[in-house]
Amino acid sequence: MSDAPIIQIKNVSKLYGGTVKAVDGVDLEVGRGEFFALLGPSGCGKTTLLRMLAGFEVPTAGQVIIDGQDMATVQPNKRPVNMVFQSYAVFPHMSVEQNVGYGLKMERRPAKEIRERVAEALELVKLGHLGKRMPDEMSGGQRQRVALARALVKRPKVLLLDEPLSALDAKLREAMQLELVRLQKTVGITFVIVTHDQSEALSMANRIAVMNQGKVQQVAPPAELYEMPANRFVADFIGKINMIEGDSTAAGDGEVRVKAHPLGEMTLKGTATGKVALAVRPEKIFVDEKEPTDPNLIKVKGKVGEVAYFGSYSNVFFDIGLGQPLQADISNVSSDIEEYTFKAGEQYWIYWRKSDTLVLGD
């Protein structure tokens, strides 16, 4: 097995009606065995990109290369990829076995091989006992397993998944997230998943490409994406974040001097200059009645506004004299309710590490 990327997307664009750019000059590489996520709001072009890999959309410009082979003239039924569709697309008039075996039948495999591989694939997705069932006798979760088995039985080089969990309810979705990760480790095939749900992408993928308006905004592993977002869009789209507007000037050595009301002036790691946002994640914020003394902290006095209790954490909004409040997520690490009760109007010192502060340009 070579080390070359299994998927290379080179400067690909897709225009609709000659002008609307659904995908706009995208360059991407996906490595062998990766669990790769395309993440973005609806209409950002992520699905169009996935459908180009499957062959259902033709790029207006650029090249799609899978396992070293240019896909420009390869029809969908001849590509070394398989797809799990959003609706699962389980053939309603075929039994589970017939569904899973359909792809092998199209390859004209001998009946015995089909039987064996179908049984194996059904075992893999834990549906070994349901081969004779018809799709309308199955739950949504089971139908998704059929769709997975049907794609994996073809032993594709890449498995494409289009919002595979969006049709499931919340509890099932969480369980399937873990199971998809397990499955990908078992079969070792490259997975490319499209999702609009950031927690899905963060928890499952090795690497994530965040897209907006047809363009890739950032490609990075989950933790890097969350802790070091490349720009405001990514910071805002992934998780919750506080942004305080400020002015930044270069201070050399990968540092900038930032002035932001009401935090004052400080030197921070970063490169963005001019109008910037000082950004900090709500769970990185600490709250105390006493003023902290550590010089590596950014601190500000604030008054408790609204408090939203979520059980495992409380989302507390502090008025720090800005237009919008500063929100802090306080993890409720003790069952003693009094310990983390915030009352509107109380004054606190709010602080966070300078190293946890991001300086974001546009």
């Binding site: 499957a54 062959g55 259902f56 029809q75 969908p76 039924n77 001849k78 990829v81 398989n82 797809m83 569709f85 959003q86 609706s87 697309a89 053939f91 309603p92 008039h93 359909y102 792809g103 199209m106 390859e107 799709p135 309308d136 049907r150 794609a151 073809k154």
Partner: protein, 284 residues
């Protein structure tokens, strides 16, 4: 869906018997609709040549129908035409529906509108147009049976296949296109996608469209009347010519037969449509 249909009757069911005006309204409209038809059917069993008074139950007039050679010939003609019409209309209708659903091409909107013309145009005009058309192209007369039914059959097909096409097209609307993409993705050629995935989905529409074409052809009077030669009498035309003399119980009996055949075929068609709608719902 659940959003808007949580409750089948959220205003609370009202007791029918307490609502006099509702009771009266239902009774009057039912009478209005049913009385002539039920009267017609009932008096086909009346043991009297005059239609006015009930004299006792008899099936004599059905036996007489059976022994009436010219009526049976008309029935055979009607069935032959209807079967031919059904076969051709269903095939043409399925192809038209598939082409309209699957492809884009210039003039598609005109084509779709044109499709609906025979449904909209007054029957009498269709009849006159067909008559003139066959006269102008010089359709030969006096051919041996069943070829002499050709002109009627062609007119019926022109009239019936748009109905079949619309029913099949409606069925295709509920097709999840991800199914055909998925089959492509799994290695199927376009032809295999059509055969393995699209046709099985179409099937209830094909059956319903065929049954619709059958009843349209079997029941048609106006278009047949204008395109039929003197030697090609169908069942409705025969009833018409019998009525011209007088309304005998045989007419009632013949009408009853036609009504029952139509009702049975329509019921089957509706049943198939309902069943497939329910399956369609449960699958999504």
């Amino acid at each position: 869906m659940r959003l808007f249909r949580r409750n089948p009757d959220p205003m609370g069911p009202l007791d029918y018997s307490r609502r006099l005006w509702l009771r009266a309204f239902v009774a009057v409209t039912l009478f209005f609709l049913y009385a002539p038809i039920i009267g017609l059917m009932a008096f086909s069993f009346n043991d009297s040549r005059r239609n006015v008074v009930w004299r006792g139950f008899t099936t004599d007039y059905y036996v007489k129908l059976w022994n009436n050679d010219s009526l049976m010939m008309a029935f055979a003609n009607s069935l032959t035409i209807a079967v031919m019409t059904t076969i051709v209309s269903t095939i043409l209708g399925a192809l038209t529906a598939y082409v309209l659903w699957r492809y884009r091409f210039p003039g598609k909107a005109v084509y779709e509108g044109g499709m609906a013309l025979p449904i909209v145009i007054p029957e009498i005009c269709m009849g006159v147009a067909m008559m003139v058309f066959f006269a102008r192209i010089g359709w030969p007369a006096g051919l041996p049976w069943p070829i002499n039914l050709g002109s009627i059959t062609i007119a019926h097909i022109a009239f019936a296949f748009p109905f079949a096409a619309i029913v099949i097209r409606a069925r295709l609307e509920s097709f999840n296109r991800e199914l055909s993409e998925c089959a492509r993705d799994l290695g199927a050629s376009e032809y295999r996608v059509f055969r393995d995935i699209v046709v099985p989905h179409m099937r209830p529409g094909l059956i319903a469209g065929a049954l619709l074409a059958f009843t349209l052809s079997l029941d048609d009077f106006v278009i047949t009347f204008f395109t039929a030669g003197p030697d090609t009498v169908t069942f409705p035309v025969k009833i018409y010519s019998m009525v011209r003399f007088s309304v005998t119980p045989e007419v009632n009996a013949a009408s009853t037969v036609l009504i029952l055949v139509t009702l049975v075929v329509t019921t089957i068609a509706l049943w198939i449509q309902n069943r497939n709608n329910m399956i369609g719902k449960s699958a999504h």
